[in-house]
């Protein structure tokens, strides 16, 4: 019988994000579309995911800055809904996501008689994210260690392993599920429960708490592991 392949420990990493202005601003939909065609890919990262790492309360209606701006500055609810439903994890790369955004906006421009303008102090500022990733040197060798480790993780670590991982990993999943997958069917239920967490509508602090609760429940004394 062949020996089980050795499973690599879970390497706990952390990240910090800095916001960099591109100097590009849009005051109406046409300008938004034009800039979207030219801005660096880091802008999409920032405007789709970066919101979790900067000051804001989760807006239950919209999960990206484009939808939110279209709704609150241009007052176009229909377009905001179309943009708000976009899930960047569904696109193979940022260029496809960019194309989709531009298509949706162009379609709306075709439908619209008049161009709505945002007030001067409500322009859309294109910002790109700069991310520094670093190794905490912490290593987890068994999933049961997640129960104690996750509550102590920084919000940057939660972001890196749960959000950022989705665009890093080829299969587009978070690092926790990807690691648990190596243990075969043993943690299938746990993986499903992690998958059911929608990170768009909660803060990173809440996300950490939900993950911690899941792992605690799974690995508390007497629970099947």
């Amino acid at each position: 019988m062949a020996a089980k392949p050795r499973i690599e420990p879970f390497a706990v990493k952390d990240c910090a994000l800095a916001a960099i202005s591109t100097g590009r601003r849009a005051q109406n939909l046409r300008e938004l579309r034009d800039h979207l065609q030219a801005v660096p890919v880091g802008c999409f990262h920032y405007h789709f995911w970066g919101g979790l790492l900067r000051p804001r309360f989760d807006d239950p209606e919209y999960n990206n800055d484009f939808a939110s701006w279209v709704r609150h500055a241009l007052h176009d609810a229909r377009l905001a809904e179309r943009l708000g439903i976009l899930d960047p994890a569904e696109y193979a790369d940022v260029e496809q996501l960019r194309r989709e955004l531009v298509d949706i906006i162009e379609q709306r421009l075709d439908e619209t008689e008049f161009l709505a303008w945002a007030r001067r102090n409500q322009q859309f500022h294109f910002v790109r994210a700069q991310t520094v990733v670093f190794d905490t040197r912490k290593r987890l060798t068994h999933p049961a260690e997640l129960a104690d480790a996750v509550p102590a993780l920084s919000l940057g670590s939660i972001y890196y392993h749960f959000i950022d991982a989705r665009r890093r990993a080829p299969q587009g999943v978070d690092d926790f599920r990807a690691w648990l997958d190596h243990f075969g069917d043993e943690f299938r239920d746990l993986r499903d429960q992690i998958m059911a967490i929608d990170p768009y509508f909660i803060t990173l602090r809440e996300l950490r708490e939900r993950l911690a609760t899941l792992f605690r429940r799974q690995f508390s004394a007497g629970a099947p592991s």
Binding site: A19, I20, S21, R128
Partner: protein, 413 residues
């Protein structure tokens, strides 16, 4: 972990301090120099007072120097300050000369320090012209702009940007303020220090005594605005909102607390107008406080039921963060950095008129549960976003990226 870091860990959590320690690892031993124009007074000095010791605790060789100057130098930099915030101003040749000479002298005085530093932070326009004098600099230079330059007077900005363009990066507080420059323009909002005199916890007795000293009834609802007597802060709009609300809530008290700047001739006139507007009203208190009355401000903010910052123009509004940190919802003017801190229905309300402010005042006074809920959210919002540890993290991120020459994503092994 040092005692200082432990003090911060008790407020923000050990995970936050651990993250700072790890992020600072590649910067250990680096020579970091901050230069601004004063050691006391003003938000920049307040931040550096804590930021520099914290950088030292994280293993950096951090120093803080100031650029000295004579009258003409300060006249020139005051003119910059006003013009960058949109006021019309003409820069004479003699002022320009005084500015450039002060920078040349400062560069001479600190030549070795500036040449050998790994990272130099130049704060605001006063020392911005140091850079061209250090031809053989070894490190990265960052220009940190703390003021609202969203609509600068163009000639003055053109003159200053001639110096700033040569830096390796610049930092603005908000995207609205960012200007086009030929290097990376970082966006880092300012922060407050939870352990300072202005923000630390106070005994209930001291809060009560402060109220009694200023003849404020601690048992009746009190709302507060802390700001200079400046038209941009709209104190008269606050008085108007107070009277509109007081018709419905007769027990309401108003405190307008602040100081003035000796170089602001308009301050006295605004103060006189405010005093006239509340004349004869024992429930409206106009307090002219000295610039170091941090504990009094702290006590008043804690005594208030909620806080107003009804500015019509505002850079960031640190008084908003201070109030939110004390669990007080803020009714704020819909402008500048207030919009970053006041999230409608979560941490307070944004308003565009005295009438709007009056409506929100009445709402908060009639919904004590909502007021308490918003206060709790406000404190957590500041804990996550506007404490000095967050600003330090972003500075470290910027420094690590610059030192490693990274433009997008940097993975440290």
């Amino acid at each position: 972990m040092s005692a200082l870091l432990q003090d911060y860990a008790a407020v923000v959590g050990e995970d936050v301090i651990d993250q700072l320690l790890q992020l600072a690892e590649p910067l250990k031993g680096k020579k970091v120099v901050h230069i601004n124009s004063t050691r006391v007074g003003g938000g920049v000095a307040e931040i550096l007072t804590k930021l520099v010791p914290l950088q030292r605790e994280l293993g950096m060789d951090a120093r803080w120097e100031i650029i000295p100057g004579q009258d003409e130098f300060y006249q020139c930099t005051k003119l910059f300050h006003n013009a960058l915030q949109g006021r019309t101003a003409v820069l004479s040749e003699s002022l320009k000369q005084a500015y450039e000479e002060a920078n040349a002298q400062c560069a001479e005085e600190h030549r070795a320090l500036l040449r050998d530093a790994d990272v130099v932070f130049i704060h605001d326009p006063q020392p911005a012209a140091l850079l061209p004098h250090i031809h053989d600099r070894k490190g990265k230079w960052i220009w940190r702009c703390h003021i609202d330059v969203s609509h600068p007077q163009r000639q003055i900005w053109r003159y200053l940007s001639g110096f700033v363009a040569g830096y390796d990066a610049s930092v603005f507080s908000l995207a609205d303020f960012a200007q086009m420059l030929p290097h990376s323009v970082y966006l880092i909002p300012p922060s407050i220090d939870p352990l300072s005199e202005k923000n630390r916890e106070l005994p209930e007795k001291e809060i009560r005594e402060t109220c009694e000293l200023h003849r404020i009834d601690p048992d009746r609802p009190m709302m507060l605005q802390v700001s200079r007597f400046d038209r941009f802060k709209d104190p008269l709009g606050v008085v108007q909102a107070y009277y509109l609300a007081k018709k419905f809530i007769p027990a309401l008290q108003l405190v307008l607390a602040g100081g003035g700047a000796s170089d602001d001739p308009e301050g006295d006139a605004v103060l006189a107008e405010v005093q006239a507007a509340v004349k004869g009203d024992a429930d409206a208190h106009v307090l002219f406080l000295p610039p170091d009355a941090h504990r009094t401000v702290n006590a008043l903010q804690r005594a208030a039921l909620f806080v107003l910052q009804k500015s019509v123009r505002e850079g960031f509004g640190l008084t908003v963060a201070e109030a939110l940190w004390k669990g007080k919802p803020v009714i704020g003017g819909n402008t500048g950095g207030i919009r970053l801190q006041v999230v409608n229905h979560h941490t307070g309300f944004l308003v565009d008129s005295p009438e709007g402010a009056a409506l929100r005042i009445r709402y908060l006074l009639h919904h004590p549960d909502k007021l308490a809920e918003m206060g709790g959210k406000a404190r957590e919002f500041v804990r996550d976003n506007f404490l000095i540890t967050r600003q330090l993290r972003e500075y470290l991120t910027l420094m690590v990226a610059l030192v490693h020459g990274a433009n997008g994503r940097l993975v440290l092994e």
